[in-house]
Amino acid sequence: MLSFIVRRAAATLMVLLVASFIVYQLTAISGDPLMELRGSRDPDIQFRIQYLTEILQLDVPPFIRYFYWLGGAAGCLIGQCDLGISVSRGEIPVTEALSGAIASTVQLITLATILSIIIGVAIGMTTALRQYSGYDYTVTFFAFIFYSLPIFWVAVLLKEFGAIQFNRFLEEPYIPPGAMTVIALVLAVAVSGIVGGGLKTRVQSFIGGAVLSVVVMIFLNLTQWLKYPALGVPGIILMTLLVASVVLVLSIGFNQRRGLIIVLGMALVAAAMWLPGQYLFFYIQGPLGILLIVAIMAAIGVLLGIVFGGDGRKEISRAAGITGAFAGLIMAIDEALQYWSEYLSLIPLNNGYISTIGAVTPAIKRQENMWLSLIDSYAHLILPTAALLIISVAGYTRYSRASLLEVMNQDYVRTARAKGLNERTVVVRHAMRNALLPIATIVPVDITALIGGAVITEQVFAWAGMGALFIRGLNAVDVNLVMGYVMIVGLMAVIGNVIADLLYSALDPRIRVS
């Protein structure tokens, strides 16, 4: 294992060296960094040109200049990074510019990545279980369409069309009966497609889905929930029940009475903890409060599982703990939503509720209230996240569908069925875990590729992340900035690949790294 990592590191270093040399030369010959200055008629411009020529060593040919740069970059190995200065960013050190941009990009991609993995895997696996059904064909068709969409087109459409329409809708959030019927029918078809089964089950699930969605939409209309969203204690109970049922489906099933009561009971615990939670959020400001409530709720779940779990205490306490952690998150969301009307009063009116540009609203940043900034940053994140989601969900859907199909055709799945296990155990325990293996190895590569910046998404939504920095560096022929970017992205790509290899060998005992 150690020799594997050492050999990989040595090869990586060589690859990075060669690549950085090529990129340096290419960027240097792509243009003249002093082009703008040369056109200027300012009498002092000569000194400026001289100064920049000296500080950037422009009189040295790029072939040799690269080695000066390399000397500075080599300092990174001993903790003294000198990647030069960035002329296009007011002569700040490149390391400084990079760290700001990385933070911003990570903020942008985190939510999109998590959501796209969860949604993509869920959709892909359900389509695999309902192979060649109408649901499968529909999803596959849309996955193909989303896969073929150019992201800049989607992003511009979302920004100029989606956001404006949606903001207009939010001013007077009323769902007309026509739209309600269409939405309810679409949801009902989707629900009956996913549930599957015979004619009777289909009709039942269709009617159930339609009625439920109509009820929810009438509720939204009556309470103007979309304009003034709030959870409250009933909302927390409902959401926790929802999470609890998903956790139950994926873990112990609904047949164990003890587990059922404990896990579903977490909803009541969350309701009971609501008032103490309010005190906690009042006294402990900042992200520590959220962490604390998540930890406390998880601990309660685990404790309940251990004390009352009986024979299955290990599985039950695990399921209850996970449910508890999510319940804590839901309580934090409830707390944030309590600041919603304050948020509405603070944002500039012509901006609309969903912002199309940048990462923060200045007026809200001045408030220095964590909950307000939380709402604000999510309002800014919605559009770019949606754009990234549309593209990457399609990929994950295809991957996980193919992966689960392959596993479901294996002999050991047939054996599991033959020995009389119920379908839930066969799918969740035997098939799904193994189907997740290849996906687990795609994820690190995907994430590290995203650090390189969703260049186009950042460009369209004016997000000051890695992609924007790179484009800026390229436009200004700012070699140092471009090199800093390339080094980070190259390093990330290599690290992602190594993690994927190690992960695979850790998860799958048949694979040995060598």
Partner: protein
């Protein structure tokens, strides 16, 4: 019951016989072709793609040779494209300004009853005909797709084949070189191209093709590593075949499925990369046009003139979708593991039974 039986058998034949027919001794090409033509989406996509190609090249004609730059004709004082111009049946050019026909330049296209009108896709602020521009953009984008597909397939196959067959130091060298190419950001190369070479379609295609082969090379290498250990390769070597003959005559035909499928998917990626690069201003830049370049040029005009944005985007999506579906059809055709099994039961069958029962009563 006895009556129903033959019907069932033909049904069964239709569903699974492609595998059985292999025993009749068909060539790989025939089997693959038959399987491919059963994939409806792929066949439809092929027809649509062919129609789009035909439309794009016949409507505004094309330019062969020349630098592709706009020049003023000294005799007439009109703008013209450098090179041999083949005219098409659409009378307007993509580079000329015309009088604004509809106020604001809105599209004149009428879908039902079909009537293209003077400017079916509308006009921009200068009065350029967007239909002609989109058609020319499709031509350029298709040329990029074709060249990228061809070039990267050739490079990827050769690199992968050499690395996988000879292994050893050559393998290490080639794979590290592949790693270097993977790390090179396409944007940097695009920036050099658009600044130094003016950013025309063919040079962009050549550059993209020279960078996009890495994935294919890895796949072909893996195939070669597995296939070179097989008995038929040993047999060929014992019979005295040279390395080049073993590579091209014995192993390569066995990897054709992987190569064809991935080349198709690469072409779908190529049109998206080309349009994205052009959108950022690092790919094809004016005066040459492509679908992405059109969207980039009119990016700011979305609120006032959305049609400048709709039509090129629509064609990008359709072309990419068609190529992706064709790739999927090819994958199904080449990969016998993903065989379609006859469907049993299900809600629709149950519904049919129910209706049949009602009728019987």
């Amino acid at each position: 019951m006895a009556k129903k039986r033959p019907v069932d058998e033909t049904q069964l034949n239709r569903e699974i016989t492609i595998e059985q027919r292999e025993t009749e001794g068909l060539s790989l090409g025939t089997i693959v072709r038959r399987r491919f033509f059963r994939h409806k989406a792929a066949v439809i996509s092929m027809i649509v793609l062919g129609a789009i190609t035909l439309l794009a090249f016949t409507s505004v004609g094309t330019v062969v040779g020349g630098s592709g730059n706009l020049v003023t004709d000294p005799n007439t004082g009109k703008l013209a494209v450098d090179g041999f111009r083949i005219p098409g049946w659409w009378q307007l050019n993509w580079y000329e300004n015309y009088d604004i026909y509809n106020p604001g330049g809105t599209p004149t296209l009428n879908v039902w009853p079909f009537d293209p009108g003077q400017h079916p896709f509308g006009q921009d602020t200068l009065g350029k005909d967007i239909f002609a521009r989109v058609m020319r953009g499709i031509q350029q984008s298709l040329i990029v797709v074709f060249i990228v597909g061809l070039l990267s397939t050739v490079i990827g196959t050769i690199v992968g084949a050499l690395a996988g067959y000879f292994r050893g130091w050559l393998d290490t060298l080639l794979m590290r070189a592949t790693d270097v190419v993977i790390i090179l950001p396409i944007l940097v190369v695009g920036a050099v191209l658009s600044r130094s070479f003016g950013g025309d379609a063919v040079s962009l295609a050549l550059l993209l093709g020279a960078l996009a082969w890495t994935g294919l090379a890895r796949l072909v290498r893996a195939e070669f590593l597995a296939l070179r250990e097989r008995e038929f390769v040993d047999a060929a070597r014992v019979a005295g075949a040279k390395n080049s003959r073993i590579i091209f005559k014995h192993i390569l035909p066995n990897t054709i499925g992987v190569i064809v499928v991935n080349a198709t998917l690469l072409m779908a990626a190529a049109i998206l990369i080309e349009t994205s690069l052009s959108f950022l201003g690092f790919g094809i830049v004016a005066p040459d046009i492509s679908l992405g370049q059109i969207i980039s040029e009119y990016n700011e005009a979305f609120r006032t003139r959305p049609w400048l944005f709709w039509y090129p985007g629509l064609f990008i999506v359709i072309i990419a979708l068609c190529i992706n579906f064709i790739g999927d059809g090819l994958r199904d055709a080449f990969d016998p593991r993903q065989r379609r099994l006859p469907k049993s039961g299900g809600a629709i069958a149950e519904l049919k039974q129910l209706i049949a029962k009602r009728r019987g009563n």
